[in-house]
Amino acid sequence: MAFFSRLKSGLAKTKANFLDKIASTVGIHKKIDEELLSQLEKTLLEADLGVTATEKILNGLKERVKKEKIEASDKIIGLLKEEIGKLLDSSGTTSTTVGTAKLRVIMIVGVNGNGKTTSIGKLANYYKEQGRKVLLAACDTFRAAAIEQLEIWAKRAGAEIVKNQPKADPAAVAFDAIKSAVSQNIDVVIVDTAGRLQTKVNLMEELKKIKKVMGKALPGAPHEILLVIDSTTGQNALSQVERFSQAVEITGIILTKLDGTAKGGIIIPIVSELKIPIKYVGIGEKIEDLEVFEPREFVEALFE
């Protein structure tokens, strides 16, 4: 299973930290007691799960320990796995409308510096490998050299690119890109947008406009809007998901930089509280370091 093993190696650091702590805790405490639970609380909080999700998991754990009369501490990892799995599953469905449109338009949004452009390069490669014709739209006309950066990725992935001058209207670039994709029989258009903090009202308005204009170029576009989140982000990721969802309808999340020591625990409250599915994870700097996210396997890889 490619995802599983690759994720496992990508997650090596993440996992080592996460598990070592739990394992050593379990080693010291033979019985499930308050001390062990407070150690678990610490581990979960330090993995960025946040106060609410941590409480939810621990309460679920306590309830089961009581109900099923579990005493031995080595059972705790299994229980924890199930509880976290439950939360990651609670979004119900992780697949969104695939749609029947011949041309698929994917819009990528997010705050500054979380890896949007790199993820687009990887995503382009992912679709190219499936034999699709891919076109990238350079709609980050704001940041210095963002267009050049996307061009390099387009070359690496063997994708077409539509661009304009820096400071050009991003909505116009998106429009041109989709029109050009239709005439060139392209299968997938991936639209890069400038990074923006979710509290900047005018920039969020701009995002709405880009989306609207895309719909004018091709009814139904964009078919997917993916929010990129850096896995080192803390609780602010929740605000990012909320605010970006309010502006444009987010259909899924790309979680990047999972190859660091950050545990990416923030995805648990994102999925369980905000019900937005994780679609892909980025686990390295190479073009093939992008994987489709599978919640169950993610939990397994975290504990394996």
Partner: protein, 442 residues
């Protein structure tokens, strides 16, 4: 910045208002909520624990004084602890005596190094330095190009070369020496702190160039991992200080609290916007009062001094003292406020502003107001009461807005006018008294 955290604190302290004195039980209750607020703000778990137990100990022996409410007493304790945690004072960056000074910026990918390089260069250029930007990020696609464009926009030269980072830095330093640059700012590639090879590269550059300051750039939205990142960079490269970026969003900024506490490294600057001048020196006391929603009057006054011209201020003072306040003055004032930097960061310094949770500032809205005022005739600006229905219609279509927008501006102006009238009646001693009430630390 910090508005979420300060509104949480506000609620917690308000609850204590009803009690006559601090007891063990009401402190425990409040501190439990402080703990959750800090954790939700991404403050490191260990730091939170120490923070709480320290306050708990200090608060127990505390007698409440006559006239001091328990809530206020706890605020003071939390404030003192925050200042302690944030590092008390801001020490300026070090400069070399003879040779060019070298600053080296390091950090994870996407933390904002390149943008911050430009901001720092501009910050010190304003203070009379001659900075040179050095593009040592040879890995990320178009990173060199990005720094070059940034430099071009700022009119600050950029040094780049097709070579290994160490060689680039070495040559850049020589170039600086020969061409009269006295400040070399190195933009290094973003890297994961667990990437041994790339961390070694940084250590090599450091040992060769001996920078006066190695600065770690950290995304202000970073979660619990912030302390690991800071600790690794300190251990493998050795850092002198930290710059927190993207602090202009709604991040609760817990990373600021934990990095200093865990690594012992001071926070030097915070990035508060995308514009090249959106960089502020980090003052622990001021930040602590912002976190607690007490505002930051000192920074506000400094900002005003920097950006408001003396003649303008004198003109305004005259207006405030006696003359009539017109829409033209209103317009002038908007221009001055805009010059002070991003609106959110300016408002964050105003005492009590933290309480307006979820208040969002739209700079575009200001542009609208400007357009509306510009579409008025001179007569209308001086005596706005002549603006009737048909004039409103004309102004709206002239400024590309709606009649409702025009109404709103006129209403805002009427309120302003009233405030100015009150201000004229008030004496200045009263105002300064008002501000000192806000400063609980005294």
């Amino acid at each position: 910045m910090f508005t979420e955290l300060s509104s949480k604190f506000d609620k917690i302290f308000n609850k204590l208002r009803g009690y006559a004195r601090l007891s063990e039980s009401n402190i425990k209750e409040a501190l439990k909520e402080v703990k959750v607020a800090l954790l939700e703000a991404d403050v490191n778990y260990k730091v939170v624990k120490d923070f709480i137990s320290s306050i708990e100990q200090k608060s127990l022996g505390q007698e409440t004084f006559k006239g001091v409410k328990p809530g206020q007493l706890l605020i003071k304790l939390v404030y003192d602890e925050l200042v302690e945690l944030l590092g008390k004072e801001n020490k300026p960056l070090r400069f070399s005596g003879t040779e060019p000074t070298v600053f080296m910026l390091t950090g994870l990918q996407g933390s904002g190094k390149t943008t911050t390089c430009g901001k720092i260069a501009k910050f010190y250029e304003k203070k009379g330095k001659r900075p040179l930007l050095v593009a040592a990020d040879i890995y990320r696609p178009a990173a060199i190009e990005q720094l070059k464009i940034l430099g071009k926009n700022l009119k600050i030269p950029t040094f780049s070369q097709d070579a290994k980072p160490l060689k680039i830095c070495r040559e850049a330093f020589e170039h600086a020496k020969q061409n009269g640059f006295d400040l070399v700012i190195i933009d290094t590639a973003g890297r994961l702190h667990i990437d041994e090879a790339l961390m070694k590269e940084l250590a090599e550059i450091k040992s060769e160039l001996k920078p006066q300051e190695v600065l770690l750039v950290v995304d202000g939205m970073t979660g619990q991992d912030a302390v690991n990142i800071a600790a690794s960079f300190e251990q493998k490269v050795g850092i002198d200080g930290v710059i927190l970026t993207k602090m202009d969003g709604d991040t609760r900024g817990g990373a600021a609290l934990s990095i200093r506490a865990v690594s012992g490294k001071p926070i030097k600057f915070i990035g508060v916007g995308e514009k090249t001048d959106a960089l502020e020196l980090f003052y622990p006391e001021r930040i602590a009062s912002r976190i607690l929603g007490m505002g930051d009057v000192v920074s506000l006054v400094e900002k005003a001094q920097e950006s408001i011209k003396i003649e303008e201020a004198e003109k305004l003072e005259k207006k405030l003292k006696g003359e009539r306040f017109t829409l033209e003055d209103f317009y002038d004032q908007l221009q001055q406020i805009k010059r002070m930097g991003p609106l959110e960061s300016v408002l964050g310094m105003v005492p009590g502003m933290g309480k307006f949770k979820g208040m969002e500032m739209d700079e575009k809205a200001l542009t609208k107001v400007e357009a509306i005022i510009c579409s008025m005739t001179k007569k209308e600006k001086v005596s706005p009461n002549i603006i009737d229905g048909s004039r409103r219609k004309r102004i709206a279509s002239g400024s590309g807005t709606s009649i409702q927008d025009v109404n709103k501006v006129l209403k805002q102006f009427a309120m302003m006018e009233k405030m100015v009238k009150n201000f004229q009646k008030m004496d200045l001693k009263k105002i300064s008294k008002m501000f000192s009430l806000v400063n609980y630390s005294q």
